[in-house]
Amino acid sequence: MSEREARSGKHSGLWFALVSAWLARALGGWVIALPVSLSVSQSGALASPAGDRVLFEAEALWLAELLRRDGANLLAALRASAVLLSLGLLLRACSSLLLYTAIAEPRPLLEVATRALTSVPRWLVLGGAELLARVLLVLLGLLLAASVDSLAFSKNELWLSLPELLVLLTITLTSGVLMLLADVMRVGLVLAPRVGLRRLFDESLSRLRLEFSAFFGSFLALCGAAALVFALAARAVEWLDVGQPGAYRVAAVFGVHQATLLTLVGIEYVWARWLFARLRPDSAG
């Protein structure tokens, strides 16, 4: 966006949407984690000035003890977290809708929010359908994995066993296509909120068919980037080792994690923006 545009407040909706997408993850995560961390706080493990650092010490003796001794309490806390997770998913879906709407048409915050509000029910139906399809896919994958017969396969020495590799690839690819299709339909839904779902589906599908490599290539590149960011963050956290004394380590890990969440929001933004550019009726197609 240009400096002038930015000053005019035209992009305030987009900025808000980006910040809310990050906050939905960060704050949502914070709230979801609360029951479990409160349960840990009640345990004897924290009766020490070192706090829960002992849980991350080398060997994880205290962590194993915590799980053994307070396993039942932690399980109950996890159930409470699961309830909060479902609320968090709704929050996240709304922030996502806000982001898509803001990308579709950069406007001041209030207009973006009002426009997004009209699409909420359809957005949730679409999201619910995608979630259901993903669950069915995983079930199908498990069924396939259970029925493959690795004993009857070739003697080729592969890194993974051939049948399991095939099942894994099938699930990954199908899941990828499903997510791609859902995202394309989301863009369609925001661009033309009053279009029927059936028409939306047909149009999205025909567009995907036409340019599958472009869509799937970009999708995979951004997913790969996300995986890389996640792996790098995991290594950084390992290196920072919060099991050692030093409050700065906790702060640094917090920084790494928030940077990761922000980067993932950024990747989501780049992906959605590319999709909009590709799917607008006036785009090159």
Binding site: R25, E59, L61, G128, N156, L160, S218, A221, A234
Partner: protein, 663 residues
Amino acid sequence: MLASLWRSGWARLAAGVLCYGVAFAISLPRPPPANAVRALPPASNERRAPDVLPASYQLHARLDPNTHVVFGRGSIEWQNTSRVEVPSLFFHLYLNAFKNDGTLFLRSPFGAGRDGTRATQFGFTDVKTLKVREFGAEDLWPRHAPHSPNDPADETDIELPLPRAVKPGERITLDVEFEAHLPQIVERTGFERSFHLVAQWFPKLARLEPDGSFAHFPFHAQAEFYADFGRYDVTLELPENFRVGASGQRVSDTVANGVRRVRFVAEPVHDFAWTAWEHFVERREKIHGVDVTVLTPPGHAQSAAVTLESVRASLPYFSNHFGSYPYSTLTVVHPPVGAESAGGMEYPTLITTGAPWYLPFTGARGLEAVTVHELGHQWFYGLLASNEARFPFLDEGINSFAEHAALKAAYGAGSAFSGFGLQLSETALFRAVSVARAEDEAAAGAADQFSTFRNLGALVYSRTATVLETIARVYGRAKFDRALRAYTETQRFRHPDPEAFFAALREGLGEDAVTVLRKALSERGRVNYFARELQTARKQVPAGYFERSSGRELVTRSTTPAGEHLGRVTVYRHGDLELPVDVLLVAEDGTEQRANWDGRGAFRVFDYVGDSPLAFALIDPEHKLLIDADLSDNQVAVRKATASRIHERLAYWAGLLLGGVEP
């Protein structure tokens, strides 16, 4: 050019795949450092072989892979090494454990064996003839008892009365013909399609103890084996496309008319097992002077690499700590999908391991743990051939301790799991498993006497390992290592009992350590140290009326000008184990004071004097007392801390989950 390339969907796809590849490579667990093994001085008087080989087998076995029957014949040379005449022999026909649902092994209504698997295709051993050359041409097998002693439904422990008693020192030769009908794998032995793990497959003589009694027992699902040392010369006959692995050294391998004949010689050992499958992928490597062969199903290259890595790390470790590996070969077998129950078992120079193909990529070291554990059995079962049925803690327990030590030497604190900034050791895991059941039963009990296999696992494996690790940490690692080394040296190629083990530890560590060990393993001994009543106050000048030489003086209450602080914490001991323990007293300004208690008595009061108020007391700061029943009461503080690290970590994971799952 680059820009136009990037516009292509395929280039983006390639970039995505590359990112995934790099992410995957970054996430792979790291191999152990090359210098992981701390060497002990080489043994000076290591025994090379047993004094006698009482039971040697020369066998010929033909496998029919379609009917899963092994047609066997051969001779057994046996010597009466006891002090008395022996009127009958005892044979273990272990495959009869899988004959029907009524056997001791399978009769439980809740499923048999260690994992509750039920037999689907049954198996048995059918002895056709048995003659003793010294006693003439009579087939003696019809004389055999029809079933195991006192158990009409079981045929795994069979007595064979002889025409005359065998004199002390006398050697006889038995000619035997038999058929081993393999079961579909229930546990450790049998077939799964064309995969065969052929173990406990021949009529096996029970071990004769020096007092003339046979150590014979029916095959119980929770128990293992016990036998005399001998020489095994076995020729296997199977279809030419089958790959085979077996105990001992391969001395010939020929193919004629579509039949492969492979001869193996193993000496001195007390069992012989083999495996055959046409789909095995074979990898070989010379490790620490031993020819190591890894047999895996197709598609398990990473598993094979991890297996070799584990052997590379642990074979030198075990050799350094428990005496050299006396054989020239080692075969490691990964059973295929469907035959997982055959994994995780030890036979002389042949071990089975296994894990799902994805496990090596997760940070969990399950495959390493199983491989190292089974390799450790080459010492604690193989060379120190204790009675596994009667004293399972001597093989499984000590070996679990050895496994932890070897894994820790190789992989450090993350010996069970390493990833995402968390390092979980096997020691921590086994401690948590064992402490919950520590008082259920004695860990040093006989295998068939344990109430459940879960209890056997928690007590024989985990509890014994945890107790031994505690003894090593409390009484000194170096002294403990030397004592255990002395035990493995003196008992090499022998059949030690618990007293031999306790004697070696008494010699190296003293009576106190052995008292704790005995109580903890044999008498359900337990201990829980805990801290209570942390008090802290500024030191005060004593107030009140005091009789002085100048007369009665009233002193008003006030604190000392120097601002000294006093503190007190009481540490209690519950349970019957008395172990010395350290207590750490930490002041608000971080200064530390350390005190020690020999553990005798019910409690001990620890007083503190310092410039800053006492903030915290911690029992056993170095985590020596792993058998402490509850760690959470080992500390007491003025103020509780927060769970900031846990909360931060969980919040991040939940944030990721929201991004990944949301609609």
